[in-house]
């Protein structure tokens, strides 16, 4: 069975000459049928451009896009958006302001017979919990309801692929978690392949099967949320996902030598490296007489945990995430220990 979506080295440049920007740079990605994948990256990394290339609103400069095994872009092929069997949920929802909720949802169902259309609409209204609101006009709905109408409208024609562009960024924080869970459930129930663009890592990590991290136009890593956090493929991914400390060291195959001792390496590596230390893998122990001590510089107490920043004898800062039981006062002398094995990245410069 072909994958739900396949991107093969796609590139897109905007503008010409000096003003040109390479928005998408040789990005590749494969999404299984029925899978829910997040395209995660900071502002301006090219993720919305990638989505618009998949939807067909922009033409690829290079590379190829296949949806459900059908080539839709590349090799001088450009299938128009309306022929790609996609459903799109826009950041601004883009509901048709001149027609009702019902007409919005039925918009993509014009090829069905009247009875099929009624049945499908009812099914979608039930699925999205919009039953009873079908007579309203878009401006009469709350943000969360508009969001669900946008999703219902995209799902109704049973598309091969659903594309969601920052779908929760217009909702206020209180509503966001709830709507996010609802959308997750609806998409899961609909069993549609879905791509979801976001700059919010919490959103991405909590919602989807796999996350594709996009940085500077390229997809750096595609992995499950757990793997992405515990085994980032590059230093940039490690920096972008979660909090990270980096400690310089020298690797000798299985071991890495650094300021706080000799650590076990997770993978074979040699030469100068940056060791990734997640705050929760840093432990703080009582100072031992005769050894140079690290000192507490800054504390942030959250209740369920706390973040303690210490300065090592050489001046490097490390942040540790600890349980709430111990109190740390500034300038307290400490010893730093690390849970092994650790991940290290070759130092570039």
């Amino acid at each position: 069975m072909p994958p739900g979506l396949h991107l093969q080295g796609i590139s897109k440049q905007f503008g010409t000459g000096d003003a040109s920007v390479l928005a998408v740079n040789d990005a590749s990605l494969t999404v299984d049928r029925g899978e829910f994948v997040a395209l995660l990256g900071p502002s301006g990394c090219g993720k919305t451009s990638t989505l618009r290339l998949i939807a067909g609103f922009e033409r690829v400069d290079a590379g190829a896009i296949e949806i459900d095994g059908t080539l839709v872009a590349g090799d001088a092929v450009h299938v128009q958006p309306e022929k790609r069997r996609i459903g799109m949920v826009f950041q601004e929802y883009a509901l048709f302001p001149h027609v009702s909720v019902l007409a919005n949802i039925e918009f993509g169902l014009r090829r069905m017979t009247a009875t099929d259309r009624t049945a499908r609409t009812r099914e979608i209204l039930e699925l999205t919990g919009l039953a009873g609101l079908e007579g309203r006009m878009p401006h009469e709905l709350s943000g969360g309801q508009q969001q669900r109408v946008a999703l219902a409208r995209a799902l109704a024609p049973n598309p091969a692929l659903i594309l969601l562009d920052e779908p929760f960024s217009n909702l206020d924080a209180g509503l966001r978690a709830r709507v996010r869970a609802e959308v997750g459930e609806i998409l899961h129930a609909a069993k549609t392949t879905a791509i979801f663009v976001t700059h919010d890592q919490e959103e991405a990590l909590s919602l989807v099967d796999r996350v594709a991290v996009m940085l500077n136009g390229s997809i750096e890593q595609v992995a499950s949320p757990h793997e992405l956090y515990s085994r980032p493929a590059t230093r940039s991914v490690a920096e972008f996902i979660g909090d990270a400390n980096f400690l310089p060291g020298v690797a000798h195959g299985d071991t890495i030598e650094c300021e706080i001792g000799i650590l076990a390496a997770r993978q074979q590596i040699k030469g100068p490296v940056d060791i990734l230390l997640r705050p929760e893998n840093v432990e703080l122990l009582a100072a031992q007489p005769g050894l140079p001590a690290a000192r507490v510089r800054h504390t942030l107490f959250f209740g369920h945990d706390q973040l303690i920043t210490v300065q090592l004898p050489t001046g490097t800062f490390l942040t540790a995430r600890l349980g709430p039981s111990d109190a740390y006062v500034p300038d307290l002398p400490l010893q730093v220990a690390v849970r092994s094995p650790v991940i290290a990245f070759p130092r570039s410069s």
């Binding site: 509901l95 027609v99 217009n170 206020d172 924080a173």
Partner: protein, 567 residues
């Protein structure tokens, strides 16, 4: 990349802000303050409604006189007059002219606006300006250029006569009037559609594409329905303009209402007939206004964006090979509506200069036109804004009556307003008669709806939630108006003023009849010169008129640029 920064901070902050404000404002003292303030607000509201009503009544003055005049005519006399004046033929003429001009204007304006606003048409900025430029050519100048080009002893005839062509097909009558009025009024629809396209979120169209609709289907099913308020507003302007146009139809000898009225007034000295014809014309206007209201459906249109946030950056549709077809279309329109008319004017100007025409009277006329236009624009802004606000935001029959009353002024042909005011001035206000103020009043009665149209569009654009947000942050009615409504509406007001200035400078019939003695404007100079077939003498004022109007359009465009940059 667009709008990827989440707008999470602002709602949160404003909620905190409201909570704080509530905490500070609780207590008996501030509640007393609230009560006092609401009493003041009630008085302000009452005063405001009174003001709106007063403006509306002033605009109704010429109409009231007409009814008063016509009321003096007996029924048998009326029937006799109707028989003699061939009323049915005149009605039919006006009807087909209005329908023809509005339809043709839409057929020109809609593709033109779409091409310049939504596609990668080469030089779309320049085409946008060129598309609006024909507004600077008054219909009587257009009629004059048509006659001077294709009429007997026109340019074409001069070129063809050596080839033995003695006679060209006549351009007088319906064809000529349709041609001239379409070419010089379509920019009204163009501008209104363009503004609406500019506001319309392109991702709504992309949504339709993703739902299986091709470009054309999307245009028909999504874009057009959303442009309907703009098309109706622009179409109504064109229809009303056509109905009340005097210059083109009389020059081209097409017997629609305005020409018939003028002919009656000149030939029979019986103002009762002119009044009756005018009343029939007003009935037509009322029908148009009712059509407009019905097309809007129940309630007011609420087509402003349904969600908060910034629109995605616009991606222009690639025309590819269709580019040439698009360029040919735009080129043909601009050629017919702009290049040919100016070319003909320049031709006659050069011929005039060669034969030693003096340019001194043109300067004095320019100053006079400028003064009258500026005064009318200022007056229209002052009087139009309260009525526009009341029409869009305040409920009640009285306020909607006020808006309709103001719109009625546009249906009153200038010649009728002028006659009405001549009589009123001579009989009831001799101190006002034959002054510039009387003339400005006539202009305002005629052109206030233009200012109001622009203002209403920008008021409709303003989401009422914005005002409510201001109120919730502790601003009073007046503070909300000053700090929120006014800055958002200002571009609309300026656009409205520019439009009033433009049309005032071009205005002919009221200027002709109401100008103080010796007060010669560009329009009256062109008219009298054309009337006496001195084509060379009409050329210089026509050119100055063109330049002034062009500057006015430039101002409107600059304002829009500013909006785009700051928005």
């Amino acid at each position: 990349m667009s709008g990827e920064s989440g707008s999470t901070e602002h709602p949160r902050r404003s909620i905190a802000f409201q909570v704080l404000r509530k905490a500070y404002s609780s207590g008996p003292l501030s509640r007393e303050g609230d009560a006092a303030r609401s009493t003041v607000q009630r008085y302000v509201g009452f005063f405001f409604r009174g003001l709106v009503l007063l403006i509306a009544l002033a605009m109704l003055l010429p109409l009231a006189y007409l009814i008063f005049r016509a009321g003096g005519v007996g029924w048998t006399e009326v029937l006799g007059l109707l028989g003699r004046t061939r009323m049915l033929a005149i009605m039919w003429n006006s009807l087909i002219l209005v329908c023809g001009v509005t339809t043709l204007s839409l057929l020109l304006a809609l593709p033109f606006a779409w091409l310049t606003e939504r596609t990668d048409l080469p030089g779309w900025r320049i085409w946008t300006v060129l598309a609006m430029m024909p507004l600077v050519i008054p219909s009587y100048v257009g009629g004059y250029t048509l006659i001077a080009m294709f009429g007997p002893r026109g340019v074409l005839q001069e070129f063809l006569s050596p080839l033995g062509v003695e006679r060209l097909p006549s351009i007088y009558g319906f064809t000529g009037a349709l041609w001239v009025l379409t070419l010089f009024t379509y920019p009204y629809i163009f501008m209104s559609i363009r503004a609406a396209l500019h506001r319309f979120d392109p991702s709504v169209e992309e949504a339709a594409r993703s739902l299986g609709y091709n470009g054309l289907q999307t245009f028909l099913r999504v874009t057009i329905p959303n442009l309907r308020p703009a098309i109706t507003a622009g179409g109504l302007l064109v229809a009303l303009y056509t109905l009340s146009d005097f210059g083109a139809v009389s020059l081209l000898r097409f017997n629609s209402f305005t020409r018939a009225i003028y002919v009656q007034y000149l030939s029979s000295f019986d103002r009762n007939v002119a009044s009756l014809l005018s009343l029939a014309l007003i009935v037509f206007t009322i029908i148009l206004l009712l059509l407009e209201r019905n097309s809007r459906g129940k309630g007011r249109p609420r087509y402003y964006r349904s969600s908060a946030g910034v629109a995605a950056p616009r991606k222009r549709i690639e025309l590819a090979r269709r580019k040439w077809l698009a360029l040919a279309f735009c080129g043909a329109v601009v050629m017919a509506a702009l290049v040919l008319p100016t070319g003909v004017i320049l031709y006659w100007l050069l011929r005039g200069l060669a034969s030693g025409e003096s340019l001194a009277p043109v300067w004095a006329a320019t100053l006079n036109s400028f003064r009258a236009g500026a005064l009318a624009a200022i007056a229209a802004a002052i009087l139009g804004l309260p009525v526009a606000y009341a029409a869009v935001r305040m409920g009640g029959r009285l306020m909607s009556f006020a808006a309709r009353a103001v719109y009625l002024g546009y249906g009153l042909p200038g010649i009728v307003i002028a006659l009405s005011l001549v009589f009123l001035g001579a009989n009831f206000a001799p101190w006002l008669y034959q002054t510039l103020w009387m003339l400005v009043f006539a202009y305002v009665v005629r052109f206030l709806p233009q200012a109001m149209g622009a203002m209403q569009i920008s008021l409709l654009q303003m989401n009422p939630r914005l005002e409510e947000a201001g109120r919730s942050l502790g601003l009073g009615n007046r503070a909300v108006f000053r700090r929120i409504t006014a800055p958002i509406v200002r571009p609309g007001v300026l656009a409205g003023m520019a439009l009033v200035f433009l049309t005032t400078v071009k205005e002919l019939p009221a200027t002709l009849l109401l100008s103080p003695t010796g007060f010669s404007t560009l329009a009256t100079q062109i008219w009298s010169a054309t009337d006496e077939a001195f084509f060379t003498r009409a050329a210089a004022p026509a050119l100055v008129l063109l330049a002034m109007s062009a500057f006015s359009i430039f101002l409107v465009l600059m304002q829009e640029e500013k909006e785009v940059v700051s928005g």
